[in-house]
């Protein structure tokens, strides 16, 4: 009978239960420590991923601008030159033959092609931006809008507006020109306003028009808006669309990168 004597709870099961408890406690505490570090690691990984994406975006935009520059140069130097030569030869032919009736249409066609080439070149890469900067380019844009006689544009900026890096000036110009394009195409606006404000650390560009405003569908699916947001992100800035009364209002804030 002694052989079947019960196992004493205090001497057998209690130590075992205590050991189990210690193991469970250890696992829980270590797991908590691990979760904290894992969260930090995940944050770091997200940060690296974001940086990588921004770098990719910046290089994609830089490559796009380079390609635009190349196409604009090729169009201007090759196609433009050939069209100019053709124009000259037709003029010479007209003088020589003393007959303008047969070649007049041809000359007009070439003149139109030359004007189109210049316009495309300008749109691809505005010549003022590199030479005269953002303000001159936006003034030229304003003049173009005003020449349509459908919408009147105003542009205000600080008198001592400095030059910025080419990437930044070109980026802001492209964003504003896309906004202007949207206003002219969809907003049916009578007025649009471009304002440049300079703080100690940021360039703020505010844009507004008195058109129909932004519809929810356009906000969600617009490729133009996406591309603008991408450009602002590439410049490490913020793009905010605000709802102030009627029309469309937005502001772009880009960290300052002044060229000395």
């Amino acid at each position: 009978m002694e052989q079947t004597q019960g196992i004493n709870f205090l001497t057998t099961l209690f130590p075992l239960a205590m050991v189990m408890f210690v193991i469970a406690l250890g696992v829980i505490l270590l797991n908590q420590h691990f979760r904290k570090n894992l969260y930090q690691q995940k944050l770091e990984q997200e940060e690296i991923k974001n940086q990588h994406q921004q770098e990719l975006l910046r290089s994609a935009i830089a490559a796009q601008e380079q390609e635009r520059q190349r196409i604009a140069n090729d169009l201007h130097d090759e196609l433009g030159a050939m069209l100019s030569m053709a124009r000259m030869q037709i003029l010479q032919f007209q003088k020589k033959e003393n007959n303008t009736t047969n070649t007049e249409n041809l000359l007009e066609l070439i003149e139109t092609s030359l004007a189109s080439t210049r316009r495309i070149c300008y749109q691809l890469m505005p010549p003022q931006i590199e030479r005269y900067g953002l303000v001159a380019s936006l003034q030229s844009l304003k003049a173009n809008v005003n020449s349509t006689n459908e919408t009147s544009a105003s542009f205000t900026y600080p008198s001592d507006f400095p030059r910025f890096s080419n990437a930044m000036e070109l980026g802001v110009y492209r964003i504003v020109s896309e906004l202007v394009n949207n206003t002219l195409k969809h907003a049916k606006a009578k007025q649009l306003m471009i304002t440049l404000i300079l703080t100690d650390s940021e360039l703020i560009c505010s844009y507004s028009d008195n058109g129909v405003g932004l519809t929810d569908a356009a906000e969600g699916s617009g490729l133009g808006l996406k591309s603008m947001r991408a450009r602002v992100e590439a410049l490490q800035g913020i793009f905010v669309i605000s709802e102030q009364g009627t029309g469309f209002n937005c502001a772009i804030k880009i960290p300052f990168q002044k060229i000395s």
């Binding site: 797991n31 894992l38 690691q41």
Partner: protein, 221 residues
């Protein structure tokens, strides 16, 4: 040969074989497993010496005291390496220092080096079980697997081996301590003692087989 002898023979052979294999692949192995390999080498050496001492009828318990302390240091450093970035190195070093102090105090004042160091072994088992269960849980996270890409197949086998062995040891030690100390269990004979150690040897064999599979599944260059 009886089954008991087979198990004893297998448990010795498998330790030496794994240690030999570890030595052969030492230079080709990633740095994350270096402390684990040192643990395997230590086990091989201790096994060999204890066998010699056993044949010469000398008490080999001092070896066990040394093996528990140093073996745990290597295993804790191994876990520290594979969980780097997720578990702070300081925490692992803190555990190592505290455990080392405990084993020194235990061997000096509580359990003589010529007796069985059940307290240190129990604490070692608890710590290794905590580390191995936690490692298993952490390995379910994609980010942890990404950090040690290619190595997790090996780590899973090694970790499984450690968990199986140390869990079984903890139970065996707990009951062995009870059976040998409690007079009410005097019915248990020398045979029972031997059976307990057979069981221990069996789980030890399983652990080293897991180690061997883990090393075999190492990331190939």
């Amino acid at each position: 040969m009886k089954l008991d002898n087979w198990i004893l023979f297998a448990s010795t052979f498998v330790v030496l074989f794994t240690a030999l294999y570890a030595a052969l692949i030492y230079k080709r192995l990633t740095k994350d497993l270096r402390f684990f390999l040192w643990f395997v080498f230590l086990s091989g050496i201790i096994q060999l010496i204890s066998l010699i001492l056993w044949f010469s009828s000398t008490n080999n318990m001092p070896l066990l005291h040394f093996y528990v302390a140093v073996g745990f240091i290597f295993l804790a450093l191994f876990y520290g390496d594979i969980l780097q970035g997720f578990i702070k190195r300081k925490l692992i070093l803190g555990i190592i220092i505290l455990f080392s102090l405990f084993t020194i105090i235990n061997s000096s004042f509580i359990q003589s080096i010529f007796t069985y160091n059940s307290y240190a072994l129990t604490v070692e088992c608890i710590l290794i079980i905590i580390l191995s269960i936690s490692t298993y849980m952490f390995s379910l996270e994609d980010l942890v697997q990404e950090k040690r890409q290619g190595l997790w197949k090996s780590i899973k086998w090694i970790n499984a081996g450690l968990l199986i062995y140390y869990t079984s040891s903890l139970i065996i030690f707990n009951f062995a301590h009870l059976f040998f100390s409690d007079q009410s269990f005097k019915i248990y004979s020398r045979d029972f003692n031997l059976q307990t150690w057979m069981l221990h040897s069996f789980f030890s064999t399983v652990m080293y087989i897991c180690f061997f599979i883990g090393l075999w599944n190492r990331p190939k260059a």
